[in-house]
Symmetry: C4
Subunit: 199 residues, 4 copies
């Protein structure tokens, strides 16, 4: 019961975050195509952020599905995750409005890294509460992708200090490893999961 | 269970999209009736878009009702639909603020065409997952109207290059075929559905 | 099932309408108390509108509770209600920002009258679908207050042409008859309900 | 059933309040770090308000969990709470944008005090309806922290007239007593609860 309320509240916040981002797509006053071209960078960053939030919704959904009870630690780890996710629209808009300049590209990476770390803390809070049950272990196992993501975000942030385009290449890479169901990666992860959670 | 979460999340996003559109109805500073007349085009485009989103909510609701399980393909087809629907407010506002000029009338058609295509993909993803069961077939059968809509949107986009008013005539036509329960059209569609899905 | 989805979607839209209205409460740039005084009219109109939406949510909730099935007519009558309610924030902001000038006071009445009419249509759509069952009759009986409200809104709109302050007096009166549980009115309504629905 | 609808509606409103606050974090036009430093005060006040709303959501959740039926008094006490919480983003933004000047620091305290009082009224409305049952008593017992919070908010408001920084120290203190699970405080509260609700 408690878990469903937590899930419903999180779903609500995620649904709002994913939707209000589009408000940053300021309606141009001119009716020319050129006016539309000007909002293209904001559109691109919106698209990227939409995908990230959707991935979080998907993973969060599976993670909560695996737990049976919620304690204060999980509750606040979840609120912490929602807090950092709520800042993604800001970083997205800053990156988009400044046509992917250096500083915004670094902040964008930071804005993606923080929820990833918060998600890791949420996983740890759940592990602390649940022990190592089987359904949970399966959900946690998925988190190997999460650790790769952390590394890629950090690489992107560092790259951003030199060349913003490289930073975004790293960020896009994170989205891709979650979106594209590469059988080899899936198998590799499945193997590692098996090593971690021998049944 | 999974399906209900998907439905609840989609409902949340649709409820927000349909409501934030009204934020584009900028409050005039003057207290004169003339100030209200100026926001009339935005009001008209808001009305039209409200009807579209409501139709999508209605159809989406029936479609999800017909399925029993959700896989990754359906999940991302659904996210893709929500993404394109989230851009309808932007196109609506651009059309309304520029008093239905040429370029915005074309983009408006594009903004309506993309969710229609995304909806078709969602239907295909569900068909791939479910096979051809009876309740599903009934929901899919409804999609004949969807194909007519696709054609009307494309016709509207082409018309927009010549005369914006014609474009909106096509777009309004789509809304009407979904709203007006014409018995002849209903019977025609019912017949076609029967041919397609012989029980 | 259908009914619960309709209720959930309506709840979502109402929750958003009631909350986005506060976005019209523009944050003043100055840190002086005088800056706060300037937003007072907007705050007052926000308060009034918050109460209206809360009353609608409450009544809508009881109304939907009384029905057992949803058809297309009810669905669109409900969408129609949500559409008009979604315009309340706009009228609220226009009234508040123009310090309750004449034209906004009339539009505000119109913006409250239209959902009241839409609610009456929704009640009729439900009556058409359900016939005259007992639980429904009880919910509909409440609508006598609704008819008084309609008359008060119209009186307020007419008054607005002469003196805005009188218009708001009528609008506030509507809120009061719904908020204050006057035993005499309650008894009167209860009697009328009994006459309408002899058990 | 009624209770779940009330909880769901409240969750929706709280999810929106917590998320729209971030819209006040205006995206800077410049791509420099200095531009980010300028939004830092708004970010800090956003963080503080996010924590408050999250604490309210948590407590509200436990409170509603403890009740079995909802009457008109509870409904409107709850709407009153949501109303005051909906004003927190405004006060947050005013405080943040004016870099924690005197007047905004006082209003911020007022904006936090009012929901705290409204929450107390909600607790009283529930007590009036439910009598003193055991699960309820446990939820109410928690409200001792609430009374300490009321005192701290008032102290903060008074401090704000002299020195804004002191005001925020009091406000932060409230957040801390809810966030930090100090065993001594927990034991003290547990003892007082036991005295209040002898089983």
């Amino acid at each position: 019961m408690n878990r469903d309320r937590l899930a419903a509240f999180s779903d609500g916040v995620l649904a709002i975050i994913i939707t209000i981002m589009v408000l940053e797509l300021k309606v141009p006053h001119s009716a020319e195509w050129s006016a539309l071209v000007e909002v293209l960078p904001v559109f691109l960053s919106y698209t990227l952020s939409f995908i990230y939030i959707a991935i979080y919704w998907n993973n969060h959904h599976h993670l909560l599905h695996a737990i049976s009870r919620v304690d204060g630690r999980i509750l606040w780890a979840n609120n912490n995750l929602l807090f950092w996710l709520s800042l993604v629209p800001f970083a997205t808009a800053w990156a988009g409005e400044n046509h992917f300049a250096r500083q915004p590209s670094i902040l964008f990476g930071f804005a993606l890294l923080m929820p990833a770390i918060a998600y890791t803390f949420l996983v740890m809070a759940i592990q602390h509460n649940e022990g190592s049950e089987k359904t949970l272990a399966r959900a946690i196992g998925r988190d190997i992708k999460g650790k790769i993501s952390l590394a890629l975000y950090i690489a992107g942030i560092i790259a951003g200090f030199f060349q913003p385009a490289f930073a975004y290449a790293f960020y896009v890479a994170v989205a891709l490893i979650w979106l594209i169901p590469d059988p080899r990666i899936e198998r590799l992860i499945a193997n590692q999961e098996r090593e971690i959670t021998p049944e």
